[in-house]
């Protein structure tokens, strides 16, 4: 059994917060249909952050925004192993996005200009901003989900661990 919540099913745990939670959920949904970044690549960004957060539940979570098998096993394993940057399974643009996600996950203050420029060249200005927004959502949801798993596990309030 996969521990819950994770970033992909967090909204049910946050729903008691009311309209702000509903707004955050709508923002999250919109990321998976926006035109800047294909959903499978966004999922690989999520897995990049999951690895950095060392969160087995996140790494095992099944993303309902993707059909099964949409992300290839080779790409998935490379991201989870931290070897995407030297894997031939990715295009140069995909590597640029994943490298940006890695830097963002470690510390947004240290994102190299060359890394950001490579993403801008691949996705354009709006695409770069969108990627930053998406990573912020992903990272925040992972953090909140992890804390809520701990909170629910100790208190028995609000969910199942």
């Amino acid at each position: 059994m996969i521990a819950s919540p994770t970033s992909v099913d967090l909204d049910r745990a946050l729903a008691p917060a009311g309209s702000a939670a509903a707004s955050f959920a709508r923002l999250w949904q919109s990321l998976w249909v926006a035109p800047y970044l294909a959903a499978p690549l966004l999922e690989l960004c999520r897995l990049t952050l999951a690895r950095l957060h060392r969160d087995p539940a996140e790494m095992a979570a099944q993303n309902p925004h993707l059909e099964s098998g949409t992300v290839g096993a080779v790409q998935r394993e490379a991201v989870l192993a931290g070897t995407a940057h030297r894997s031939a399974a990715f295009s140069a643009d995909e590597r640029a996005v994943l490298e940006f996600a890695e830097s963002y996950g470690l510390d947004p203050q240290t994102i190299p200009d060359a890394t950001a420029e490579a993403v801008r060249a691949a996705l354009g200005d709006a695409g770069l901003v969108f990627l930053i927004e998406a990573l912020g959502c992903l990272d925040g949801r992972m953090r909140a989900a992890r804390c809520l798993r701990d909170f629910h596990g100790v208190t028995g309030l609000g969910g199942s661990a």
């Binding site: 917060a17 702000a20 203050q109 200005d125 930053i132 909140a144 804390c147 596990g153 208190t155």
Partner: protein, 175 residues
């Protein structure tokens, strides 16, 4: 941190800080981000002063120069004076902040850790002081503040510190 903004805001100025920033380049998410900010400040289940404590703790940890310099008028009117805002620092645990404010900072620090995670002691203390709905509400607010500040840092172009404290109202960032 990039000294120059990686992306500029749109050429038209609306007076809304979010709409006029680089986030204005992404119409697919812009309106929901503005709505989210408004919902956090207007319809959260904890008072504005407590939200501001959480926001300032996040700003300090993420090191967003803008976020650290801003104060929300709604929180000031709710009792978070500048002197109290200054207590949201390293030695907050020994400060005159209330127990609820200190627990909210504990929640923020649990979230902001790398990796994130909450101790048993903190979970039990939060459950004794806040309802589950309020805990969820604080996480939504924290995710929103964290999302905004990390976005600002990632886009770059932060000014040198220190900036003067600037009082703003929620209307500046919400619809």
């Amino acid at each position: 941190m990039s000294a120059r903004p990686r992306v500029d805001g749109p050429p038209q100025h609306s007076g809304n800080a979010i709409r006029d920033s680089a986030l204005g380049r992404v119409p697919e998410t812009l309106e929901e981000i503005i709505a989210l900010n408004g919902a956090v400040w207007r319809r959260s289940l904890v008072p504005p002063a407590l939200l501001e404590v959480i926001r300032l703790r996040n700003a300090r940890t993420v090191n967003c120069v803008y976020c650290k310099s801003v104060r929300y008028r709604e929180a000031r009117e709710d009792g978070l004076t500048e002197a109290r805002a200054a207590l949201v620092g390293e030695d907050y645990a020994n400060s005159e902040l209330t127990r609820r404010e200190k627990l909210a900072i504990g929640l923020a620090d649990a979230y902001l850790g790398f990796p994130a995670g909450m101790s048993r002691e903190l979970a039990l203390a939060l459950a004794a002081e806040f309802s589950p709905e309020q805990v969820a509400s604080m996480f939504v607010a924290l995710m929103t503040f964290n999302f905004t500040s990390r976005t600002a840092v990632s886009i770059g172009g932060m000014p040198e510190e220190p900036l003067p404290v600037t009082l703003i109202s929620v209307e500046a960032t919400a619809g």
